[in-house]
């Protein structure tokens, strides 16, 4: 693909991530922070996020298996995850995290389990999409960031 095509693709991908709610304005903030000094800031943060969040998801998995009645613990883990997802603007993942915590509050273990599956799913989807996005960016250079909505 030629460069401009790649650029267009990247831009399109970015836009769709926002439009579909995978990302929210917090992601914009990250992009704002990227500059010449830190040209790969966004990707670095996202990478860090996925690494850390995978660990947390594992913890929750194990907690659900071993101590499913410890809702406090589950809530604590999920709270941590929620903090970082919101920080990078992973809107859908965050939404699922919130739901999970609501189930924890109600001590509804089934609800927790189901909700957790959704969390993991959203997490995986986002990861794929962002990986694709960054790949494009590497090929094309930073996408012009106009507004989110705009291309």
């Amino acid at each position: 693909m030629d460069y401009s095509n790649l650029q267009r693709k990247a831009a399109y991908l970015r836009k769709s991530l926002f439009d579909q709610g995978y990302l929210d304005e917090q992601f914009d903030q990250l992009e704002e922070l990227q500059d010449e000094v830190n040209p790969n800031f966004v990707e670095e943060v996202v990478t860090l996020f996925f690494k850390d969040s995978s660990r947390l998801l594992n913890n929750i998995d194990q907690a659900l298996e071993k101590s499913p009645n410890d809702f406090r613990k589950l809530d604590t883990y999920m709270h941590q995850l929620q903090g970082s997802t919101s920080s990078i603007g992973a809107f859908r993942v965050k939404r699922e995290c919130t739901l999970f915590r609501e189930y924890c509050d109600k001590e509804n273990i089934e609800g927790c389990v189901k909700s957790f599956q959704k969390v993991k799913r959203e997490h995986a989807v986002l990861r794929q999409k962002l990986e694709a996005y960054f790949q494009l960016l590497r090929q094309t250079g930073p996408v012009e960031r106009a507004t989110r909505a705009s291309n």
Binding site: Q29, L33, E44, S84, I88
Partner: protein
């Protein structure tokens, strides 16, 4: 803040203006957030240090004291609760701490605020929010500075922080003349004081209680405890025990004590400063009132500071505050303080420490000088030009005073005062202990210049006495006996502000504005020449009275001296009413020359302006004399003990 008082101390880099280069420490176990915050803060041009463990952060803060300007911390962390960290940082380092969390629930935020967080950010944090965090640094600094100023008389405001802690008071906001490094402490202390929260028992587990407000009553209790223990022996733990206030922590007391000590020092320093106080005031103070009422007399503060014998202070305090007989200055106070009954000339054998006496005279708003423990008189003379010789005597007097343990402290004070006034002829009453009636706070209602109240206008107005205007009411009530009503000032007067009365800068003494001259607490008719005696007043003005008020500096010393002495005729503010304290050497009473009364010893009520956060309701009466008023007041013989209770 550990740092600074000067902007330069604020983290600035490369000579750029603050907030550029502000040093931020970010603590969050979430590495993603940490990285983002790091970048954001750098974008704001701050100098960022990140830490993902609270324990590490704490040790970093401890190692590098003064190395950070602000801390941002997450609430939920695995190794330590963020609120805990918040408290510790606030306590130990006095830095502004900003909490953050994904949890934006009201309760959590409330907890944060109660633990002392300067701000609470909800994740995800936006850079715009971070751009403004520098205001917390400035705000805290300013607050501390103003507290220091307030206390610059040595007020020891009690910051939440542990006073005992060796705070690194990095900078000293120099509060006026003082410039004591204690100012740092004050800052910290201030914090505590400033917080007017009630005693908050909310977090009993935390080492630092939520801010404690040192109310008048509480301060009274404190002062009383301190006097009981004796300033040298007054340690926070014992004070706490004596006070027996639930929910009060040792730290609270410790910081308050520190402030108090500063305050006393300041007062004594003030007294020394005043030189121009006309010596006219000198009048025997009628011993009537007993020192009773515990108002929080600043004297206690003085005592606490070691300058004045606690008992003396207490006595004075009591007198000032509320001596029953006299117009009490602080009616409300019940004296936790000593109660000495002031009676009679007690010239208490000097036992000792005369030192206290000094403070009386010296009531300066800023303690610049230290009172030599022993020779009060010396100080005095040095300082008070007005009463040159008188003061010399004070040493003796003080001694006497000192001796009284629990005797009417007031008397002691009076003695001291008297002694100080020694040269004055006034001491007609032999050993007349200055009767400082509590109510009579000699407060020079007029600006210091007028100190010369020749008539001995000791204005012991209670009202004027340092009691803050609000508190001044207290006085008034007390002073029943012919107090001169000082009219309005009285309120203003109360200089004795224990708690930091507001930010009045005037704090100290100033407040005592003795309202207008009327205040005069009066001394019994006799000339209380205090005017200057109210050393503590430095300022007084506060009250609207306008004129008087301010005892002004000049008053300070003179007044201070005089204060104690209320002429017979004059009504010594109950506070002072030192009952004739007999000064061993000579009555040092401040004689009111004008009235010719002999020895009205006016007990000078030092208005200790102990500004504590709580207001002093009048407990402390700083004698505020406006000299003019004073004199006039004093001169009237009829004024007996009028103290206008403010």
């Amino acid at each position: 803040m550990t740092m600074m008082s000067s902007s330069s101390s604020l983290g600035s880099s490369g000579g750029e203006k603050f907030p550029v280069g502000m040093r931020v420490l970010v603590v969050d176990d979430d590495v993603t957030c940490l990285k983002i915050l790091d970048q954001m803060l750098q974008r704001c041009r701050y100098r960022v240090t990140t830490c993902c463990q609270a324990t590490v952060a704490l040790s970093l803060l401890r190692e590098r004291r003064g190395g950070f300007d602000v801390v941002i911390s997450d609430v939920h962390m695995p190794d330590m609760d963020g609120f805990n960290l918040l408290e510790l940082v606030g306590l130990e380092m006095d830095l502004p701490v900003i909490m953050m969390s994904a949890d934006g629930g009201t309760e959590t935020v409330m907890r944060g605020i109660k633990h002392g967080a300067c701000d609470y950010l909800i994740k995800p944090v936006r850079i715009e929010e971070l751009k403004n965090i520098w205001q917390h640094v400035i705000r805290k600094k300013k607050w501390n500075e103003s507290r220091e100023l307030e206390y610059s008389g040595g007020d020891d405001s009690d910051p939440n922080r542990r006073v005992s802690e060796d705070t690194e008071c990095a900078s000293s906001v120099n509060d006026g003349a003082d410039g004591i490094s204690m100012s740092h402490k004050k800052k910290r202390e201030d914090k505590e004081d400033e917080d007017d929260g009630e005693l908050d028992h909310e977090d009993p587990s935390s080492s630092k209680k939520p801010r404690v407000v040192w109310s008048v009553e509480l301060h009274q209790q404190f002062v009383s405890a301190v006097s009981q223990l004796g300033i040298e022996k007054a340690v926070p733990k014992r004070i706490l025990e004596l006070m027996n206030v639930p929910g009060l922590t040792r730290e609270n007391v410790a910081s308050h004590l520190q402030k108090f000590r500063l305050y006393l020092k300041r007062i004594s320093g003030v007294a020394q400063q005043q030189n121009g106080i006309p010596s006219s005031l000198c009048g025997p103070v009628e011993p009537d009132a007993k020192v009773g009422s515990g108002g929080r007399l600043d004297f206690q503060a003085l005592a606490a500071s070691g300058q004045i014998h606690p008992e003396t202070l207490a006595a004075l305090h009591a007198e000032l505050l509320g001596r029953p007989s006299g117009s009490l200055v602080f009616p409300a106070m019940d004296q936790p303080v000593l109660q000495s009954s002031r009676q009679g000339p007690q010239c208490i054998p000097s036992e000792r420490d005369v030192q206290f006496g000094q403070p009386l005279f010296k009531c300066q708003s800023r303690i610049t000088k230290q009172f030599p423990t022993s020779g009060i008189g010396e100080n005095m003379s040095a300082d008070f030009s007005i009463w040159p010789s008188n003061y010399l005597g004070t040493a003796d007097a003080i001694k006497n005073v000192g001796g009284v343990n629990n005797t009417p402290k007031v008397n002691m004070m009076m003695q001291v005062l008297q002694q100080q006034q020694q040269p004055y002829p006034v001491v007609s009453e032999p050993h007349h202990i200055i009767n400082v009636q509590p109510s009579c706070l000699v407060v020079p209602s007029r600006p210091s210049n007028s100190l010369s109240v020749s008539q001995g206008s000791l204005l012991l107005n209670q009202s004027s006495i340092g009691v803050q205007s609000e508190s001044s009411n207290k006085f008034q009530s007390e002073n029943s006996s012919g107090t001169v009503k000082s009219s309005s000032n009285i309120n203003g007067v109360p200089e004795y502000r224990l708690p930091s009365l507001s930010n009045k800068a005037s704090l100290h003494l100033e407040q005592s504005v003795v309202g207008d001259t009327t205040n005069i607490g009066v001394l019994n008719g006799s000339s209380v020449s205090f005017s200057s005696s109210l050393s503590s007043y430095s300022t007084s003005t506060n009250s609207g009275t306008g004129s008087e008020r301010k005892a002004g500096k000049s008053f300070d010393q003179a007044q201070a001296r005089n204060l104690g002495f209320v002429g017979k005729g004059t009504c010594i503010p109950s506070r002072f009413a030192v009952d004739d304290i007999e000064s061993p050497t000579s009555e040092q009473c401040v004689r009111n020359t004008s009235t010719g009364d002999d020895g009205a010893r006016v007990k000078q009520e030092l208005q200790l302006d102990f500004t504590d956060s709580s207001q002093v309701g009048g407990s402390t009466m700083l004698p505020h004399f406006s000299s003019n008023n004073f004199m006039s007041v004093l001169s009237e013989d009829g004024l007996q003990g009028h103290f206008t209770e403010c």
